[in-house]
């Protein structure tokens, strides 16, 4: 495996020296990645609030179906208040098949993300402003306890059935509160530790009611959260969230509407072991082509076949400014690639029309070289999170007293951070396209604590690092220059647990371990298969875990890779996470008062209005960077889904899009507005 990859690496490097040089020169000459010509203007389609178009039109195939009497006319299919979207460049043309690649049934996010317009609320193309989506608007009460969602009158599911407040109540009462389907309440649906309720006001109005202020809730609805993620993501893969569900269709699979014996018999007849297993398949849009959905396309052949294909949803709720019902493209066809190399080769051969997922930044020189042959453009989209490669330090390591103490000491972590040569990492693994620094988010984000916190403790300073380590009493060294433990005279060994996933993190870790030689710390890279590594995290028996901190640019929506808040991840100490999640009832309180302070700030924020919330996030980041709970290296790069290869035949493709967890890359660029020019 390794050999094969290494080989391809050499092959591409050899084949593409001129392009690589040109790129490096372009970057160096300007001193800025953003001026390399590959990073475009951040732009995107805008949900226009303006007047409703006077007249509507539709795709030719649908017009034929209308003529044949198989579909109601377009005016009756779209809501009375459709979402009007202004495309990036112009009104598009109908037609064409979007060719894309996916890597197997576990790659559902590949399709979920292009269905992102089934979310209740969403972010605009900048990733920083909440915009309407399925809901045409929202309102939060002055005390922050009630969030009201206004739905679109006359909106329909993809099978033509009305989409109303009853679909929310069905989800809440029959799915979410059903212990057989959802084992327990989710944090998203509670404020101040008290679970909230979902209430129907009228056919097109629903309210989420909480006992405590929850000003964060609209952001949760817009974010990629369990409650706000949308049907495609949150009701697939055995999940049952998203706030609404097609009641008229799913009722037949629930015992409540017949009897347990009857649905079980139905399940047995269909080859499932129980009604629950059947329900998990029936409500999963990736698997069930009959399932009514709200997104621009719907599944034709499911994800567990060699081709996952979709066709347009004739009842889709959005139109362009001239009243053309979206999407423009007829179909989406995703072919199964056995591995990521094949995805990259196919994209370079021009066999994929728009692909950003699974495209490897390291291949950028060859990708650029083949632009004209494959007839595609390359756009680099820069992320907003602090570091693609972050060292997540276990603050509660109990396997070795001395190591646990060192990892829990701020000066030790600061020394580790200052011992990293981020520029070398950047040149080697990001082709110089990343921004070195701490784990704090990009300065353009509202939660950024400011530029100085991107640098603090986060630049190479071997002398200062050595001084800090000497100050901790680690003064004795062996003949190789490695520091020795005061207790048993052996080397101080820090394990870096790394997984080969979106990036080749074991290699990054190896380089960091090399850097640490200069500060006398022996870094021991432990490469593990992903499942095993996450299993170890759950037990918190690692020293440092190497992974991205993607998502933390909006700290409140996605804190799993910043603070011990998530009991599904023990990166910073699972007992601390349990302590936080249970409000102190379980687990153990972090011994570091700074960590407690950060967690309390975090907890207080959900009840605060946005400006204040952002201030609190900045305070949390200041603590986190100063304490180096997470050690950032390089980030704000296109490494994770940011190398976008778009066929030159496509129109309305934004120069730069938001790549982030909450933007559902490429969802916030609204794929339904893309079209084939020829």
């Amino acid at each position: 495996m390794t050999n094969r990859r290494t080989f391809l690496g050499y092959a591409t490097a050899l084949a593409a020296v001129p392009a690589a040089e040109a790129l490096a020169q372009a970057v160096q000459a300007t001193g800025s990645v953003t001026q390399s010509g590959l990073v475009g203007k951040l732009e995107g389609p805008i949900p226009a609030g303006g007047p409703k178009p006077a007249k509507f039109s539709e795709a030719p195939q649908l017009a034929e179906l209308v003529k044949a009497g198989k579909l109601p006319p377009v005016e009756q299919r779209i809501p009375a208040e459709p979402m009007v979207v202004k495309p990036v460049e112009s009104t598009g043309k109908y037609g064409g098949t979007w060719r894309r690649a996916f890597i197997g049934p576990s790659d559902g996010e590949n399709g979920n993300r292009i269905m992102a317009s089934d979310k209740l609320l969403f972010w605009d193309f900048t990733g920083s402003k909440i915009v309407p989506c399925v809901a045409k608007g929202y309102e939060i009460s002055a005390d922050g306890k009630v969030t009201t969602l206004f739905l679109r009158k006359g909106m329909k599911w993809s099978d033509g059935h009305a989409f109303t407040a009853d679909d929310f109540m069905f989800w809440y009462e029959d799915i979410y509160l059903n212990k057989d389907i959802v084992p327990g309440p989710i944090a998203d649906m509670s404020a101040g530790g008290k679970p909230g309720k979902l209430v129907k006001v009228d056919e097109t109005t629903v309210q989420f009611v909480f006992e405590n202020p929850y000003f964060l809730f609209p952001s949760m609805l817009a974010g990629d959260t369990l409650i706000g993620g949308g049907q495609a993501t949150r009701q697939s893969n055995g999940n049952s969230y998203a706030g609404y569900a097609p009641a008229h269709y799913l009722k037949q699979f629930l015992p409540k509407y017949s009897s347990e014996a009857e649905v079980n018999a139905k399940a047995k007849a269909a080859g499932f072991e129980s009604w629950i297993r059947m329900l998990h398949v029936k409500k999963d849009w990736e698997l069930n082509s009959e399932l009514p959905t709200l997104g621009p396309w719907k599944t034709v052949t499911p994800i567990n076949t060699p081709t996952w294909s979709m066709e347009r949803n004739p009842f889709y709720y959005a139109v362009d400014t001239e009243g053309n019902q979206l999407p423009y493209m007829d179909k989406v066809v995703m072919t199964l690639a056995e591995n990521i190399e094949v995805v990259n080769l196919k994209a370079m051969a021009g066999e994929l029309d728009l692909q950003e997922r699974h495209i490897d930044l390291q291949k950028l020189p060859v990708i650029l070289e083949n632009r004209d042959r494959g007839k595609y453009d390359v756009h680099l989209d820069l992320a907003f999170n602090g570091a693609d490669t972050t060292l997540h330090v276990n603050m509660d390591f109990r396997g070795d007293e001395l190591i646990g103490k060192l990892l829990g000491t701020a000066d030790f972590r600061r020394a580790l951070s200052m011992g990293i040569d981020r520029d070398q990492l950047n040149e080697t693994f990001w082709l110089g396209l990343a921004t070195p620094g701490s784990s704090a988010p990009a300065e353009s984000m509202p939660e950024s604590p400011g530029p100085e916190w991107r640098k603090k403790w986060s630049t190479l300073d071997v002398a200062a690092a050595n001084k800090l380590l000497d100050g901790l009493g680690l003064t004795k060294k062996d003949s190789d220059g490695y520091r020795l433990r005061p207790d048993n005279g052996k080397r101080v060994v820090i394990e870096l647990l790394a997984v080969k996933a979106f990036m080749d993190w074991p290699k990054h870790a190896e380089m960091i371990a090399q850097h640490w030689r200069k500060i006398g710390i022996y870094g021991d890279v432990k490469e593990a298969e992903r499942g095993l590594a996450f299993g170890r995290l759950l037990k918190s028996d690692h020293h440092i875990f190497v992974w991205t901190n993607g998502g933390t640019e909006l700290l409140y929506l996605y804190s799993s890779w910043a603070l011990p808040t998530d009991i599904a991840s023990g990166a910073y100490g699972i007992e601390h996470a349990k302590w936080y999640a249970s409000n102190g009832a379980q687990g153990t309180k972090p011994s570091d008062p700074k960590m407690v302070e950060a967690l309390e700030l975090f907890r207080s924020a959900a009840a605060k209005q946005e400006p204040e919330r952002n201030k609190i996030a900045q305070e949390i980041w200041k603590i986190m960077v100063d304490q180096q709970f997470t050690i950032g290296t390089c980030g704000q790069s296109p490494a994770l889904m940011g190398v976008r290869m778009a066929s030159r035949r496509l129109g309305n493709i934004p120069g730069r899009t938001c790549i982030a967890q909450h933007c559902r890359t490429p969802g916030s660029a609204r794929p339904e507005t893309w079209f084939y020019k020829a």
Binding site: N3, R4, F7, L8, A11, T97, R99, G104, P105, S106, E109, V182, P183, G184, I186, D224, T233, N237, G238, N239, G271, S274, V281, L287, T301, N304, P306, T307, S309, V333, T335, L336, A337, E338, N339, E341, V342, L345, K346, M348, A349, E351, R373, F502, E529, R530, G531, L532, A533, F534, G535, G550, G551, Y558, S560, D566, I567, A568, S569, Q661
Partner: protein
């Protein structure tokens, strides 16, 4: 003869039973289970699964029971012809394998055909014209073929075909035909995609077979019966083909045992490199995801085919080589 066959059959059944147990146990050996790797996958994609949900999932999939109970349930169903449902693909295992088995067979047969039609004549020629220029060339090429790992060869050919010939890479169909029903155009599309992988699959096997054929035949050619045949004035063609070649074919017959599982799985590494939708990558994926039912079914299938292949190769050997037959009497 009959007792021999019955004995072999019973031994075969016993072996299959052992394989089934090993297959099931080995897949579950690594720490964690399907739910763990599933959760890790989701976590990587940004989603989280609570411990409650994980436990609900385990219950749903019948995990957490002792392994012998899980094995017992599985094997009873397998004997009844139900391979169960793949956890990763969320479809019946038979369907998941069925999707790929025909293409795998087609590809393997094509590769086999290339292998044999190249290896046999070249092997014979090299032996008969030992130390001729052509023999040296074939020997050189053959050694390179054996020495170069075939996945590397696959990468080189893949890159060259893409870079200089503009040929489609990866997969067996163009995107536009992947979905289409079977038509002539789709068959033509397949025919266009087939030669490259078939050739790559064939090459390393060819090199090996040439060497085997050459060595065996050389041994035979020096035997007194060949000298006698020549002395009696038999034509060279007849002398070589009728007796020594037939004797030299024995290794081919005993190869059948390995051929059967190969036909079904294809070459795993090459399939992964070239992105071929064969059973091989499916197996690897199932093992990584700890998808017990799918992985178990494929391993079991391969095991059963090996056993059947061995049985058949024994029969074929006895048929081509009378000496073996007479030993039994």
């Amino acid at each position: 003869m009959i007792t021999f066959m019955v004995r072999r059959l019973l031994l075969g059944l016993f072996t299959v039973w052992l394989i089934s147990m090993l297959a099931f146990a080995i897949i579950q050996l690594p720490p964690g289970d399907f739910v763990d790797s599933y959760i890790a996958n989701l976590a990587a994609g940004g989603a989280t699964v609570s411990a409650d949900e994980a436990n609900a999932m385990r219950k749903l999939y019948g995990m957490g029971q002792p392994i012998y109970v899980q094995y017992g349930k599985w094997i009873v169903r397998v004997i009844a012809g139900d391979l169960g449902e793949s956890m990763e693909w969320r479809r019946p295992v038979a369907e998941v394998i069925g999707d790929r088995i025909w293409l795998t067979l087609l590809l393997s047969f094509a590769a086999l055909l290339v292998t044999w039609s190249l290896a046999l004549p070249i092997g014979i020629y090299s032996a008969v014209r030992q130390y001729s220029l052509a023999d040296y060339v074939f020997t050189l090429v053959g050694f390179i073929g054996i020495a170069v790992p075939n996945f590397l060869l696959a990468l080189i050919i893949l890159y060259t075909a893409f870079r200089y010939l503009g040929m489609s890479v990866g997969g067996l169909f163009s995107a536009e035909y992947a979905l289409a029903p079977w038509t002539w155009d789709k068959v033509k599309d397949l025919a266009w995609h087939l030669p490259l992988p078939a050739l790559i699959l064939a090459l390393s096997g060819t090199a090996q077979l040439i060497r085997i054929m050459r060595a065996n035949l050389l041994d035979e050619l020096r035997k007194p019966y060949v000298v006698t045949a020549r002395a009696k004035g038999l034509s060279e063609m007849r002398t070589v083909l009728k007796y020594p070649v037939r004797a030299a074919l024995n290794p081919f017959a005993s190869n059948i045992a390995y051929l059967f599982p190969y036909l079904v799985s294809g070459s795993i590494i090459i399939s992964i490199v070239l992105g071929l939708p064969t059973v091989g990558p499916l197996l690897v994926r199932a093992l990584i995801a700890q998808d017990v039912y799918l992985g178990g079914a494929i391993v079991l299938l391969l095991g059963v085919l090996t056993v059947i292949g061995t049985f058949i190769s024994d029969l074929v050997l006895m048929w081509v080589d009378p000496r073996l037959r007479h030993q039994l009497d």
